[in-house]
């Protein structure tokens, strides 16, 4: 029997060595190829390999697929739990380590009527002990309601059986359990097996010896579901209908960021230079760009975060599109050097993939807590442009925008993304370079040859000219000290400093008029306006839908779009929702002191839950922190 659904949320979970991220990603891509919108949420532990079978080692991957998909979904409709620890973590959610905790709808990662497929071979007494169960009946012990359909399948033994003639060693066979599970899920959610096989063949193109066993295992999993007519309904999921015609792929935020920078460099006719230091969750950007020597990208893995941004500043001084990618702790270390780029008026993109903080904090979890650091966190009056991407796919667009604004305005631009966008994937319509906006460099007019200095600027935009070593007749000395507004040389003159502080500020403020206008989403006629920025757009979009209210979502943070105040002042209730304790609200209050802002905040290291936002707004927002 089949049921039809608009969208379905699937969660894969198992040991961090079980290949759940890979399985989840493959399943998401197969679904996207079949015409579904997707939004994914990888949720893995900070430890590389916690002891096998323990609660600390559970790695999860959630995907929402169907049409009208804006978030990875609050809770799963279908769960694959590869062992007893994974089941416990999914059933108890954030309370998994509490002794005696029982399933409750609020905390659990799956719905009351979820289908939960478990590998029944991984529920031995020893497995239960490792996952800290105290009885021999895990389902009763977790207090799972009857409406949860547990589907036990001996995945481990079936995988062994499936691959017994493959010639693979026992360890490799065990590692293929995820393919069997993928096969079962493909059957359950009506993914045609031939499409899945085609995807697998493409995936392992470079390792052809892996194709046959993986396809065998996948097919056996699919057939198992089919033949045994597992006592659950298969689900038919709606295709996305309203997407513009074009070529699509699914892309993770970090890769999209890297590619946006590549596109911008080609458009601007400058080499892309990245200085970076490994840091979770930003490292993928460096790794992706290190691969792209074919595009002429230069990557220098620095000795530290400060060096990383300084390398980029050096490359910018010399004429490259220069970038440094990092996360919050790294942004702190780069502060002084970003100030140098502000003072020297050099183009620079700093990508901050935010994570839970402060200090080392929650390296693998998501948060929006670097906002004020990005806007204000430097010594002196030190304005930079701050942008925030809001989907994994539009990391491409905003990385491109960050580069464009940096180059056109001779300024550092900080692009904020976060763990959720970086590791999650969404559907991306692949653009052609010709469809992307032009990038106009601020090159010095020929008339300044022989009399150039680094303070010369366009009188209208206040943007300085970019003369770079190698250009004859434009030799000059740039500085991090205050410069004379006329001559560009060191100056400690009081009036001059005032003038230069104003100039640097005005240069950024003037940008606001040239930015795309802020748009209202949802029910514009409502009295209530949800306000968000960055990666929460999908969740707030769905919440606004459920609340029949309006949403203003910001990607341009500093400066704010020119029409922001006018739009916001139309609404009676302004509710700023963010994954911090109210940084954007604080900022908006300072920019629009005449407006009254309420706030809804969470800092759990997880993306918003739509349900909680809706509840909070309906309850009148008395005390939500």
């Amino acid at each position: 029997m089949k049921t039809d659904k608009q969208n379905v949320v699937v969660r894969f979970c198992g040991d961090s060595g079980d290949g759940m991220q890979l399985t989840g990603n493959m399943f998401s891509s197969i679904s996207a190829i079949l015409g579904n919108q997707i939004s994914t949420l990888p949720d893995f532990p900070a430890e590389i390999r916690a002891p096998q079978g323990t609660l600390g080692g559970v790695s999860g991957f959630q995907v929402n697929l169907g049409s009208g998909v804006y978030t990875p979904g609050d809770k799963a409709d279908v769960v694959v739990a590869m062992n007893a620890a994974a089941l416990k973590v999914c059933a108890l959610g954030s309370k998994f380590s509490h002794a005696g905790a029982l399933y409750n709808e609020q905390d659990a990662y799956f719905e009351r009527n979820a289908i939960v497929i478990i590998d029944s071979d991984s529920f031995s007494a020893k497995d239960l002990e490792k996952a800290l169960y105290v009885t021999d009946n895990p389902f009763t012990e977790l207090g799972l309601p009857e409406s949860v359909q547990i589907v036990p399948i001996p995945i481990t033994s079936l995988t062994k059986e499936s691959l017994k003639d493959s010639g693979m060693d026992a360890k490799s066979i065990l590692k293929s359990r995820n393919m069997f599970a993928l096969g079962v899920i493909c059957w359950l959610l009506d993914r045609p097996i031939d499409k899945a096989i085609m995807f697998l063949e493409g995936k392992f193109r470079k390792k052809p010896q892996l194709i046959a066993p993986n396809v065998k295992c996948l097919t056996d999993g699919f057939n198992y579901g089919n033949n045994f007519h597992l006592s659950v309904n298969t689900v038919n999921i709606e295709k996305a209908e309203d997407l513009p015609h074009g070529s699509y792929t699914s892309i993770a935020g970090n890769k999209a960021t890297a590619w946006g920078l590549i596109a911008a460099a080609e458009k601007a006719g400058r080499r892309l230079f990245l200085g970076s230091y490994p840091i979770t969750p930003a490292t993928d950007i460096m790794q992706e760009l290190a691969l792209r020597k074919d595009m002429g990208v230069m990557v220098v893995q620095a000795e530290d975060e400060i060096s990383a941004v300084c390398l980029a500043i050096g490359a910018s001084f010399a004429g490259d599109l220069a970038v440094s990618s990092t996360s919050g702790p790294g942004l702190s270390l780069k502060s002084e050097a970003i100030g140098l780029a502000v003072m020297a008026e050099l183009p620079l993109v700093v990508v901050d993939v935010q994570r839970g903080g402060p200090s080392t904090g929650l390296p693998t979890k998501t948060e929006q807590t670097d906002l004020l650091q990005a806007i204000y966190g430097r010594n002196g009056e030190c304005p930079v442009v701050v942008l925030a991407a809001s989907t994994s796919a539009n990391c491409f667009h905003f990385a491109y925008e960050a580069a464009r604004l940096a180059l056109e305005n001779m300024t550092p631009v900080i692009l904020l993304t976060d763990t959720y966008l970086a590791n999650g994937t969404s559907l991306w319509q692949i653009p052609k370079l010709s469809e992307l906006g032009e990038i106009h460099l601020s090159l010095p007019p020929e008339q300044f040859k022989g009399k150039f200095n680094p303070a010369l600027r366009d009188t209208e935009s206040l943007v300085r000219y970019w003369a770079t070593p190698g250009m004859e007749g434009f030799e000059h000395r740039n500085i991090g000290l205050e410069r004379d507004a006329e001559r560009g040389t060191i100056s400690t003159n009081p009036e001059n400093h005032q003038l230069m502080v104003n100039t640097r500020k005005d240069k950024i403020s003037k940008l606001a008029e040239r930015l795309p206008k802020l748009q209202i989403q949802g029910n514009a006629e409502s009295d209530t306006l949800l306000i968000g920025w960055g990666s929460t757009e999908g969740h707030l979009h769905v919440a606004a839908d459920k609340l029949h209210c309006a949403l203003a979502h910001f990607n341009y943070i500093h400066p704010l779009p020119g029409n922001a105040h006018e739009l916001l002042s139309r609404y009676k209730r302004l509710i700023v929702c963010e994954l911090n304790t109210g940084q954007f609200a604080t900022y908006l209050r300072s920019q629009m002191p005449d407006l009254k802002f309420e706030q809804y905040n969470e800092t759990t290291g997880q993306p918003f839950s739509v349900e909680r936002i809706v509840e909070a707004v309906n309850s009148g927002m008395s005390d939500n922190r």
Binding site: A32, D294, M298, G314, S316, L433, P469, G470, E475
Partner: protein
């Protein structure tokens, strides 16, 4: 080209009598001798007295932030290897706050010409001890004498697998110019330690060799391929005595000039270079080790592939065989579908 071509229009603001004046002149002379046109030269500095240098040179210049000159210069040189890149730095800028960038630029062997102005003091902040101040040194921040052991820059350079090290003295213009030219000619990270006098806060710190009379007896100017001879009468020299260097007098104990060590800057093994560089290095205030002369001139110059060349070579190699070179070609490599 003339030294004049490399003079900027800026008034030189070093204190009267500061050793940096002499190095400024030497740099302008050396740059003229090297002959790379002014627009192909980038001079990068951090913060400190020495870091003011870019303002006085009519080239591209960038006076940046404290300690980060090596990182910024690495960015300039790696991204644009066709440029000649100099870094101006001091003992505080380079060896304290910028220590990490310094050793890594040496380890990578970035083709930089690094002028390390060593006056053993923080001058611009008005007189605190530095990482090269000898132990026991009294300064405003060490009123009872430092309890720290100093760095010997050469030791750090060789420890970081540096490929070029030279040492010179502000008062010795010909040696300074020669060292700077050699630093440019060497492909790789070249460190020229310039011993400079801080006339205000650490006057006489290099007095042991600053005086012309004393210098001949207390220092040796090493030259590649030449025997290690020194002394006012050129009658003293260096030999190996077991594992150690020993100063001898030609004619005494049957020592002939042919018995002396012959300097070879190209030996990959840095052992002897390090021994030479460590001679006469003061590590305790008020105590000048006087048994061996302080080595000046080019001590080490070894050929190794430079980082900037290697990075650019690898990109060219990949591009030569890659099927895609543009963004539109790159997106074709993606798994994609029409919707």
């Amino acid at each position: 080209m003339e030294a004049q071509d490399f003079k900027s229009d800026q008034y030189v603001r070093f204190c009267p009598g500061c050793g940096d004046h002499a190095i400024t002149m030497a740099l302008q002379k050396a740059m003229a001798q090297i002959g790379v046109p002014t627009h192909q030269v980038a001079v990068i500095s951090g913060i400190g007295c020495s870091s003011r240098m870019p303002h006085y040179l009519n080239t591209y210049g960038f006076n940046t932030i404290h300690g980060r000159g090596a990182a910024i210069a690495t960015g300039v040189k790696t991204s644009h290897p066709e440029l000649t890149v100099w870094q101006m730095t001091g003992d505080g800028d380079c060896l304290a706050i910028g220590g990490n960038h310094f050793i890594h630029s040496l380890r990578r062997n970035v083709d930089l010409n690094i002028c390390l102005f060593n006056n053993r003091i923080y001058g611009l902040t008005k007189g605190q001890y530095s990482p090269t101040s000898p132990k026991g040194f009294v300064s405003k921040s060490s009123p009872f004498g430092t309890v720290e052991r100093p760095f010997i820059p050469a030791e750090l350079v060789m420890g970081a697998r540096g490929t070029f090290f030279a040492r010179t003295l502000d008062a010795d213009l010909p040696t300074t110019v020669a060292c700077l030219v050699a630093a440019h000619q060497h492909k790789g990270a070249s460190v020229v330690e310039c011993l400079v006098n801080c006339v205000i806060f650490n006057n006489g710190t290099h007095a042991w060799i600053a005086d012309r009379e004393l210098r001949a007896e207390h220092s040796i100017v090493l030259e590649h391929g030449k025997p290690m001879v020194f002394g006012k009468n050129r009658d003293r020299g260096l030999v190996l005595d077991g594992w150690n260097l020993k100063a001898v007098r030609i004619g005494e104990d049957g020592i002939k000039e042919t018995d002396l060590l012959v300097h070879d800057v190209t030996t990959k093994d840095p052992t002897l270079h390090l021994k030479l560089a460590l001679m006469g290095q003061p590590t305790e205030a008020g105590k000048q080790p006087d048994d061996l002369p302080i080595a000046l001139g080019v001590i080490r110059s070894v050929d190794e592939e430079t980082y900037d060349a290697a990075v650019n070579r690898q990109i060219e190699e990949v591009r030569a065989t890659a099927k895609q070179h543009t963004f539109d070609q790159l997106t074709q490599t993606l798994e994609q579908w029409e919707m």
